[in-house]
């Protein structure tokens, strides 16, 4: 699987997670490829952020709403819940503060879609084990000294972080290196070993308001249950 195919596959899986007529923010939107796909196939209203100047210029020239900027600095300007979905495709591992980004995604959007290459894949483990050198694979094709990917993590790491942050995983799709697709949550054994790439649909735990009946007033409030 080359890089372009992998991105296209990623996009079409992301599309399956998105309902019709929604408002979407694509972080690291490139020249607007995914935005175009979602506008055409999902009738979405799309906004994008792109760090690379030339890609941002291309996206704007193609008529998309794209802000040339750095997501790690600029996400704070968006209001709470201003998008239905915030998408971060293949970029979390390149962020300075992935945890902060993750909580920003779910502040701005009701749902977040995050996809990333799994560092726990068997090929990577094997490369490091046998050669003793930092792994270089199709989905992580850079040498250690020039890689934009500064935070490597596995599916297990990601699940633990979501748990810690009270993030609900609504859907999870895994892809093997051969492009075979499966549901991560349903396949228990060896997921972290065989998943080459993972795509997650996330949201915060949504609690029904608890109604407390008293003699005079009805109180409604959100409560948080630690698990």
């Amino acid at each position: 699987m080359n890089k372009i195919n992998s991105i296209r596959k990623d996009w079409s899986l992301i599309e399956t997670l998105i309902a019709q007529d929604r408002k979407i923010l694509d972080i690291g939107c490139g020249d607007g490829g995914l935005m175009e796909q979602l506008e055409n196939n999902r009738n979405a209203i799309t906004h994008g952020i792109e760090l690379n100047r030339d890609l941002a210029a291309n996206a704007i020239a193609r008529g998309f709403n794209v802000v040339h900027g750095n997501a790690e600095l600029d996400l704070s300007q968006y209001s709470n819940n201003s998008f239905d979905y915030v998408i971060l495709s293949q970029t979390l591992q390149a962020m300075m503060k992935p945890k902060d980004i993750l909580s920003e995604l779910l502040r701005i959007g009701s749902k977040a879609i995050v996809s990333f290459p799994n560092f726990g894949h068997w090929k990577i483990r094997l490369q490091l084990l046998i050669s003793g050198k930092m792994p270089v694979t199709e989905s992580l094709p850079y040498t250690w000294y020039d890689t934009p990917n500064i935070h490597f993590f596995t599916i297990k790491d990601f699940l633990n972080l979501c748990n810690e942050m009270n993030i609900v995983i609504e859907k999870s799709i895994g892809l093997t290196s051969k492009g075979k697709q499966f549901d991560i949550s349903e396949s228990v054994t060896g997921v972290n070993f065989f998943t080459h790439e993972a795509i997650f649909l996330l949201s915060y735990k949504n609690f029904e308001p608890i109604k407390i009946k008293s003699s005079k007033k009805v109180f409604a409030k959100n409560s948080v249950i630690a698990n």
Partner: protein, 382 residues
């Protein structure tokens, strides 16, 4: 030698007269009648959906493209506006008017006061960006155009575009805002003040009544232009262009002639400016820019406006080497629009040409403007 001050240069331009219209200015003053000189390019389509208003910068005029009869040169944005140019006049109907307070045919300090044979001079009322835009909106109305597809401008033109978005959002679909800001900064006011002081301390200025003796405060106006011109460039661009190269000599003169090319260049800029611009207009228009301030109010204006503005699309462009209207100023606008979830695009173009970049060869600016207009026009056309 004094340049002759003529009050009725014959221009090959259309002029719109607004008689007894009692235009109320932001200052509270009223102009009972005024005229706007304007040019149009291209053809208005049957549905009147392809009209674009281009707003000129401080020293610009209505001659955005083609030949400018005042200077005998190409219009100030000929490289951007015209057939098959990024703002394509085969496709769009482009309007550009000389601002209220200007000196290329619109009512301004150089023009005769209503019903008299004396120029306004210093008696001209104070003008703001909001007033300019109000006058433009009357022009658009008189051209029977209900909705402009786009309002485009750089620098003071960007201020006007932003003011359109605030005051008449229901009459436009998008704005392209280049090298502008929500406010004129303290540093920018400071540079303008130096320019104005240069003009006002020229003994020929005579409280703005220099036209009575057919004179022009050439020295003051050219110094004002020289200062301003420096702020439009960048240190790198100046170094690239001039370095320490000497002008028409091999060794320094140990005197105060224009030894250096950069001096000679600035002197030329000042001198040629005097031939085409009115000193009083320069005072009024720089003041209008100084008074521009939406720093505190922009967000509220957009959020709570009684005119619906949700549909507006914004393209905001800045330049890395522009220190007069730096990127941070553009980002403040983007920031506020994003916090309101508005449809905004933003690009910082990498160039060393400074504030003037928007007038110069910048392929990325061309691409973005052309693409933004074409694609958004296709969307409304569908």
């Amino acid at each position: 030698m004094k340049t002759k001050f003529t009050t009725d240069t014959k221009l090959e331009s259309e002029i719109a007269y607004f008689e007894n219209i009692n235009l109320k200015l932001e200052s509270g003053d009223i102009i009972d009648s005024f005229k706007l000189a304007f040019k149009t390019y291209g053809k208005l389509n049957a549905d009147k959906t392809n009209a674009i208003l281009v707003c000129h910068a401080l020293t610009g005029d209505q001659y955005v493209s083609g030949n400018n009869p005042i200077t005998g040169r190409e219009g100030w944005w000929s490289r951007m506006v015209g057939p098959n140019k990024p703002i394509d006049t085969n496709k769009f109907f482009v309007i550009c008017s000389n601002v209220l307070g200007g000196c290329a045919g619109s009512t301004g300090p150089k023009e005769l006061q209503n019903g008299s044979d004396v120029s306004y001079g210093g008696n001209f009322p104070s003008i703001t960006i909001k007033d300019m835009v109000k006058a433009q909106s009357l022009l658009i109305e008189s051209l029977n155009i209900g909705k402009l597809f786009s309002v485009i401008g750089g620098s003071m033109g960007a201020m006007q575009a932003l003011q359109w978005a605030i005051d008449f959002p229901d009459k436009i679909l998008n704005i392209i805002h280049i090298a502008g800001a929500l406010k004129h900064s303290a540093q920018n006011i400071a540079f303008h003040e130096v320019g104005r002081q240069a003009i006002m301390s020229d003994p020929i200025w005579k409280n703005g009544k220099y036209f009575e003796n057919n004179e022009v405060p050439e020295r003051g106006l050219s110094v004002a232009r020289m200062i301003a011109h420096i702020t439009y460039l960048s240190e790198n661009a100046m170094h690239r262009k001039f370095g320490r190269k000497l002008q028409s000599r091999d060794i320094i003169s140990f005197g105060f002639d224009a030894d250096f090319q950069v001096e000679s260049y600035l002197r030329y800029q000042g001198k040629s400016f005097v031939e085409r611009f009115d000193a009083n207009s320069y005072l009024y228009l720089t003041r209008a820019m100084d008074y521009f301030d939406h720093d505190e109010t922009f967000r509220k204006n957009i959020e709570f406006s009684h005119n619906p503005n949700n549909h507006l699309k914004y393209l905001i462009v800045s330049f890395t080497s522009d220190w007069l209207f730096p990127t941070i100023e553009s980002k403040m606008i983007v920031n506020q629009l994003n916090s309101l979830s508005r449809e905004v695009s933003f690009l910082e173009i990498d160039t060393d040409k400074g504030h003037d970049s928007f007038l110069l060869e910048e392929p990325q600016l061309d691409d973005v403007i052309k693409g933004f207009l074409t694609n958004n026009f296709t969307k409304i056309d569908e």
